[in-house]
Symmetry: C2
Subunit: 288 residues, 2 copies
């Protein structure tokens, strides 16, 4: 490793941030992260991936020519605000599930600190092989940012040169995947509460093959992550509202995931219990 | 045909009412309908099906031992109110897409006039062969009502003896079919408005095979019927709210179909025009 390698700053080495950092490594960069006050899981992941810990965001800003933010949507603006306050002058990539409007706000923030901004988003799970997951980038500097991740496990796709396009694409995509999961959970909870679940499943088996299994998969796949989806559903609803389209679907999806947020990271969920809890409104208190 | 045949009253001989009447004929009944002030389409359908026209609802009530209501959801209560006011004493089946609460209200209305009430709902299109479409019935008199339609093209299924169960099943079923169509239309309209439709379709083709085709089918299948779906989405949203579940999805779906109601019965829709119109809010004025 020579000092000629570009240095990429990673916020944060979580489940998706770690493979993004690995893509930067594979593409020839060194990867730094702020190691202070981080969870043992993040520390282990970062160290075993070969990322270099630095003590503070000040140091991160001083050392890196590109910083990429991968965090829950509700934290994206605050992360950008801190980096902007440190007057980062490099390339700032926000890869979070946020509305185009929030992305533009973040762009204005980091550019006021002297950075160049790239709008980004990720579609697909943490990749273990190439071809499963896309890192979308948009804005005038998207092609420049693309080079930092091009040789990793992500397909890095430049959408266009408009800030907001990569985020709009993510919003539209997740509007279906996470929105339709919430819709199915809500419907099956309705059938349970009204005593017609068996009749609905029989009708689905006859005329909508696969839907019963999909609703089961929604419980297993989306309920443990519900706490993370709340902010994303808000961003999607805001995007729809700003586009003059009905936003009720995703306000509803936000409410569904909010009620299920107590099941954070739980496995072996009992479907009937989860669906019964869903019809009992509260905020983050439906789990156990 | 002898006077020993039971007489079934049909409200109305529309696209779905007509095969229901035919099922009653096939099961050995005579079928009456009120022919005054009806459209040429309904008149032709009813006459060619062998239904007997009567002049007034008074006469219908006097002659029939069972009356079945098949009409748009927003008209269901008014139909029941008229029949109850005429003190119909037979079996009254409401087969409309209404909430369990609306069904119970209709039951109370017709029973106050002296009738016995059966909650019903239809899932599937107008049948041309057996096995495609179910007539669901619930309530204490459901098994009795079942006999009147048992030999037609419908599978006639008794859900249970609770008024509201057949309606709840329909609400849960249509919450997905028509709700997910509205969701897809809304999402594709978002992608068009934000200039990322091509990128979304490319991503869908890669990771959500079939979804692009499904959104196309939603335009062709649901937009011409949007005017009919508005009331049904209201009933579904009301059902969810009465069950203590988030109702935003179907308030959103109602808004989507409301904006598209101007395309009533139109074919050869231009998808881009429809989706662009969807992002332009108005009430029933988005068509042409």
């Amino acid at each position: 490793m020579t000092t000629d390698n570009p240095v990429v700053g990673l916020i944060n080495p979580g489940a998706m941030g770690t493979p993004i950092g690995c893509a930067a490594l594979a593409s020839g960069a060194r990867v730094c992260w702020v190691s202070m006050d981080r969870s043992p899981e993040s520390t282990t992941r970062a160290q075993s991936s070969g990322f270099e810990g630095v003590a503070t965001e000040d140091e991160l800003v001083a050392r890196c020519e590109l910083i990429i933010s991968v965090c829950p949507p509700h934290a994206a603006v605050e992360v950008a605000r801190r980096i902007a306050a440190l007057e980062f002058k490099g390339l700032y990539v926000d890869a979070n599930a946020i509305s185009p409007e929030t992305s533009r706000d973040i762009g204005a923030l980091v550019e006021s600190g002297g950075a160049r901004f790239v709008d980004g988003s990720i579609i697909g799970g943490p990749p273990v092989e190439r071809g499963t997951t896309r890192l979308y980038l948009s804005g005038p500097a998207a092609a420049k940012a693309q080079q930092y991740f091009a040789k990793g496990l992500f397909d890095v796709v430049v959408v266009d040169d408009i800030i907001g396009s990569a985020s709009a694409l993510k919003m539209a995509y997740a509007a279906w995947t996470k929105g339709s999961d919430a819709l199915l959970l809500n419907i099956r909870a309705l059938a349970v509460a009204r005593g017609v679940e068996a009749a609905l499943l029989a009708e689905w088996r006859q005329s909508m093959p696969g839907l019963a299994e999909r609703s089961q998969a929604a419980v297993e796949g989306s309920v443990p992550k519900a706490w993370r989806f709340i902010g994303e559903m808000q961003q999607i609803a805001d995007t729809l509202a700003a586009t003059n389209l009905p936003d009720g679907f995703h306000r509803g999806a936000e409410a569904v995931y909010d009620r299920l947020s107590g099941y954070k990271n739980q496995t072996d969920l009992d479907m009937t219990e989860v669906l019964t809890a869903l019809a009992r409104p509260s905020t983050g208190q439906t789990g156990h």
